[in-house]
Symmetry: C2
Subunit: 176 residues, 2 copies
């Protein structure tokens, strides 16, 4: 994994891929599947996401205020579903699902080797957590696997139906 | 357009498509292109989105607390870019870009006939507007064009590069 310029992070998340979110709390790493996230600002990259208070990760995220957002390539779909179908309360997910935790540089939550992009994040706003489970994150450090940067990603459409990235089209635009 | 069950709205937005956001303020309808949005809850459907205070729509959204989120099919890509490349301050976008405004049922902001899904929304939370331009919306009414429900959508990856929906895969999942 190589460092990725923070100014390009939005290009990875704006298309709306399913991501994995890792936390580490009380000596245990955990990972969950997440689709409810959006970019909030370009630089520093800010991300909002919903981590339900029913999720085991919610407690860890509130307590540690750190997480990694990892983007899995489409061929990791089966693992993405398995991770989403169980809770870290009951399962050591990294072990059971053969995901490789890699120490992050600035936070305690691990990166995931099998993901082509990893974003080390800290929580910067919790005002909407109580009512909506919305966390605002700042990306402190971003990592990419250059050879896999163009990996196709997954987009969840409900109940295990995923749209996989198709054609890329390029239009003349002044939009960043 | 036919009514769509509110409980299924998340299946349209969770995959992360580019959308169009319409407003109506002081007798003028306007439309902008938006990719920074996410689901926040299933029923009633709550959506968070970022509408920059540099956008003409920001003022209308704050003043009227209403908008429509319309999902364009991929073949509307050229229009999506044109809409995003100019401001309602200068351009009557519905006219100039041949979009057909359709009166909504519960709000003042129009639906867009050329989009296969339209969501009538009201603003329910503005606590994060000042700092992040994040609005929380509730979907009051949803519309679908049944024959076009499976339209491929666009996902913006920066600077006019769009990923178009590709294959659909279905995995056994307990995730909603």
């Amino acid at each position: 994994m190589k460092p990725l310029a923070l100014s390009t992070v939005y290009q990875l998340l704006e298309p709306g891929p399913v991501v994995l979110l890792t936390t580490a709390h009380r000596g245990r790493a955990n990972v969950m599947t997440m689709s409810w996230h959006m970019m909030v600002d370009f630089v520093p990259p800010l991300i909002a996401c919903v981590v339900s208070n029913g999720d085991f990760s919610h407690t860890a995220l509130k307590a540690t205020r750190e997480c990694t957002i990892a983007i899995p390539p489409a061929d990791l779909a089966a693992t993405v579903v398995e991770v989403g179908n169980c809770s870290g309360r009951d399962v050591e997910k990294f072990e059971v699902f053969d995901l490789t935790p890699v120490p992050a540089s600035l936070i305690g939550a691990p990166l995931i080797r099998e993901c082509f992009a990893n974003l080390e994040c800290k929580v910067v706003d919790t005002r909407l957590v109580r009512q909506y489970n919305i966390f605002v994150l700042e990306v402190l450090k971003a990592w990419i696997v250059p050879a896999k940067r163009r990996s196709k990603t997954l987009h969840h459409a409900g109940f295990g139906r995923f749209v996989v990235d198709g054609d890329l089209i390029k239009l003349r635009s002044r939009m960043k």
